[in-house]
């Protein structure tokens, strides 16, 4: 089985992956999500059996890292200064992308819908690839995109 050089993956997907981390894990966790995803991917890479859908594989890892980070952040006690830092990071967000409320709404979606909405609308991922990422059927992938967008539209137009 011939795997492409890992550097090729990094060159091709770094930008999208970082944006995915910001959108789904949040500003405060994006860097950790990004680094942890690549480390986990590097660890597993030589043992991969298939090289035909590396993007779906990579973003599935990222989705799981984002969920883990979210959970551990929720559980561990956060020192007061860190809270202030996080608040500062969040309040810087509008300057950086102009739509922090939109990403906050995306992060309020259930994980699969969050991933589905981002990968479909922002990356233009085909449904068969999205299904592989979500480890679901194509119908389920479509449903996740549809439901996610519906909720966002309700919030966004409210």
């Amino acid at each position: 089985m011939k795997l492409p050089p890992f550097q090729a993956l990094l060159d091709e997907h770094s930008t999208d992956l970082y944006r995915f981390c910001v959108a789904t894990a949040g500003w405060g966790e994006a860097d950790d999500c990004f680094q942890e995803t690549w480390i986990a991917a590097l660890r597993a890479y030589p043992k991969l059996r298939r090289a035909d859908n590396l993007r779906a594989w990579l973003f599935r890892i990222a989705q799981n890292k984002a969920i883990d980070l979210h959970r551990s952040r929720g559980r561990r006690p956060v020192p007061v200064e860190a809270v202030a830092e996080m608040a500062a990071a969040e309040s810087e967000a509008p300057v950086l992308d102009g739509q922090p409320e939109l990403w906050a709404a995306v992060r309020d979606l259930p994980p699969k819908q969050r991933t589905a909405v981002f990968c479909r609308t922002v990356l233009g991922m085909p449904y068969d690839e999205l299904a592989e990422l979500l480890e679901s059927t194509e119908d389920a992938a479509r449903h996740n995109v549809f439901e996610g967008l519906k909720k966002l539209r309700e919030e966004w137009t409210a």
């Binding site: 011939k2 795997l3 492409p4 050089p5 890992f6 550097q7 990094l10 770094s14 930008t15 970082y18 944006r19 910001v22 959108a23 994006a30 860097d31 990004f34 680094q35 690549w38 480390i39 590097l42 660890r43 890479y45 030589p46 950086l96 992308d97 102009g98 739509q99 939109l102 990403w103 995306v106 909405v117 981002f118 609308t121 922002v122 967008l149 966002l152 539209r153 966004w156 137009t157």
Partner: protein, 200 residues
């Protein structure tokens, strides 16, 4: 807001920051950087250099092959965990700079011989012992590698040298003094021999 949500998402995503770099020090620290590579400028054109944790494993002239082909070849032969990591090749770059400047006669960076096997490996290890400004012949290195009659095989071994310059196959000539061939083209061999004062 009447703007459609999908357009809003796409537009907002395009303005998200993208300037994130993988922490290569951490990758190496966790033992996940099997092969590091970089491009080094030289008087012979850009060189692709690659190292494993054991040492310098490849030096490739570019021109006939591009960097991408060299990297893909290494991914197949050594490990797909190959990353561009110039800091990992700082010592190699410095020694090459000094060599091409005429300020270095010996390379000290460790060598990883993983890309050589059998007789080729023996011939190249013998070649590595030929000193700066000295020359040998195909027949001599064949003999020192244990097969005095395998002159042609020695020539092939030198032609497949994965680490030219540092493993100085340019110092091996034909019996009688003709230059013979060279991995990077005979003009490069001439350049190196002139640099070392062998040719006027």
């Amino acid at each position: 807001m009447n703007e459609d949500i999908e357009t809003a998402l796409r537009e907002a995503a395009a303005t998200l920051p993208s300037a994130a770099a993988l922490d290569l020090q951490r990758v190496a620290g966790e033992g996940l950087l099997d092969v590091a590579y970089a491009t080094v400028d030289s008087p012979l054109g850009p060189l692709v250099v690659a190292a494993t944790p054991r040492g310098l494993v490849r030096l490739a002239y570019t021109g006939s092959r591009d960097e991408g082909e060299v990297v893909e070849d290494l991914a197949g032969k050594l490990s797909p965990r190959i990353l561009e990591a110039p800091e990992r090749l700082d010592d190699v770059r410095r020694e090459l700079d000094e060599y091409f400047d005429g300020r270095r006669v010996d390379f000290e960076v460790p060598i990883d011989w993983s890309l050589t096997h059998g007789f080729t490996g023996k011939v190249l290890r013998q070649t590595a012992r030929i000193g700066y400004g000295k020359t040998s012949t195909y027949a001599e290195v064949a003999g020192r590698a244990g097969s005095p009659r395998a002159v042609r095989a020695a020539g092939n071994a030198l032609g497949s040298n994965p680490i030219p310059v540092v493993v100085p196959c340019h110092r091996v000539l034909r019996t009688g003094g003709a230059l013979g061939g060279y991995t990077g083209g005979v003009e490069r061999k001439e350049f190196l021999l002139r640099l070392e004062g062998v040719l006027a």
